[in-house]
Structures are given as structure tokens and as C-alpha cells.
């Protein structure tokens, strides 16, 4: 399968990147299985899978960039595209979830009910605020 053997350092860096990417993908998928709410489940794979693909693409860039077999334009294109589109699709999923069931909106982190929006937090021109 090999055209020519790679140097040891290149192989080491590429292998570490590959394993890190696989680990990130596993963490994201296990979060997709184990977390208990839709909003929590949206959190895990949208970030971890992007990092997993990023690890695989970086390793591929290193290998093909070292062998000089071709330019690495494809990996750069895929990286830009995935890193641009993954947050957009996650945002659209959350938006459609909130549009479907507005009452299922989760409480803010830290416990307690939602803060009333009529009372703004003290700004810099508030006389009661400590300077």
C-alpha cells in the first residue's frame, strides 16, 4: 500500500493526530448516546465531530504534503467547508427545536428560573453600581 516509507517523525505526528481525531469522534458519539436532553445532545457531537474530522484532515495534509504527491488543496477546502457549516447546521437545529416546542426551552445554567428581562443589569452609568 505504501509508495515510499515516511520518516519516523512524520509518521509519529500523523499517527497522533489520527488517534486524537478518532478519540474526539468517539467522545462526541458517546455524548450523542448518553446525554439526556436534546439540547445537551446537540452540544456533544457538533463540536467533537468537527475536531475529529479536523484531526483526520490534518494527518492527511501532513502525509500528502510530505510525500509531495499532490497539492493539499482538497483538505483545505474540506476543512474550511466543515468548519464553516457545522456551527450553522447546529444553530439551525436549535432554532427549529425552539420553534417547535417553545415550552421545552431549558432553564439557564446555574439553576433557578429564567431571569426577568424587564430589569436590565446595572450598567456603567447606574448610580447604585459600585465603581
Amino acid at each position: 500500500m505504501h509508495a515510499e516509507p515516511l520518516p519516523f517523525a512524520v509518521e509519529l505526528v500523523a499517527s497522533l493526530l489520527l488517534l486524537a481525531g478518532g478519540g474526539f469522534a468517539l467522545v462526541g458519539a458517546s455524548g450523542l448516546v448518553r446525554l439526556r436532553d436534546l439540547y445537551m445532545r446537540l452540544h456533544a457531537p457538533t463540536k467533537a465531530s468537527t475536531l475529529g474530522v479536523g484531526g483526520a484532515l490534518l494527518a492527511s495534509m501532513i502525509v500528502f504534503g510530505w510525500t509531495g504527491q499532490r497539492l493539499v488543496v482538497h483538505e483545505l477546502l474540506i476543512t474550511v467547508f466543515v468548519f464553516l457549516t457545522a456551527p450553522i447546521s447546529a444553530h439551525l437545529l436549535v432554532k427549529s427545536a425552539l420553534e417547535r416546542e417553545p415550552l421545552r426551552r431549558p432553564p439557564p445554567p446555574g439553576g433557578g428560573a429564567a431571569q426577568p428581562v424587564s430589569e436590565p443589569p446595572p450598567g456603567p452609568d447606574d448610580p447604585a453600581a459600585p465603581r
Partner: protein
Amino acid sequence: MIDQALTLTLAMFVVAMLLSAWRLLVGPDVLDRVLALDTLYVNALAIVVLLGVKFRTQVYFEAALVIAMLGFVGTVVTARFVSRGDIVSHD
């Protein structure tokens, strides 16, 4: 060494795809299934890239680019269809 790392990473991505497929089959909400499909296409993209490194060929990367574009469009369209009921608004 990189061959063993490639095989191990491929196995990890396959396990990740199996977990996502479980969520796709079980997941109580429709949007859970859409999210599982999103994760599945991203992992399939990574697997295609890894196979391209393993076989040292260029053809697989164009397939990965096509998977990235079509997967994003599919996720956006499905999320919009779930929330609005149609994809192109006829105002």
C-alpha cells in the same frame, strides 16, 4: 506505524457511526434523528478521508468534498422542513 494508527482510527470512527446509528434508530424526537444523521455524514466524511490516506489516492478527497456539501444542505433542509413544514416559502 501509520498503518496501524489508520486501522485503529477507522475502527474508532466506525464505532462512532454505530453509536450515531443507534441514536438515529431510537432517538425520541425527530430532531434527534436529524442530529444523528448530521453526525453520521461528518463521520462518513472522515472515514472517506482516512481511506484516501490509506490507499494513497486522490479520488477519495473529491468524494469527501461532495459529501461535505450535500450533507450540509441535507441537514439545513431537513431542519427547516421539521420546523416550518415546507422548504421553499411561498409568500
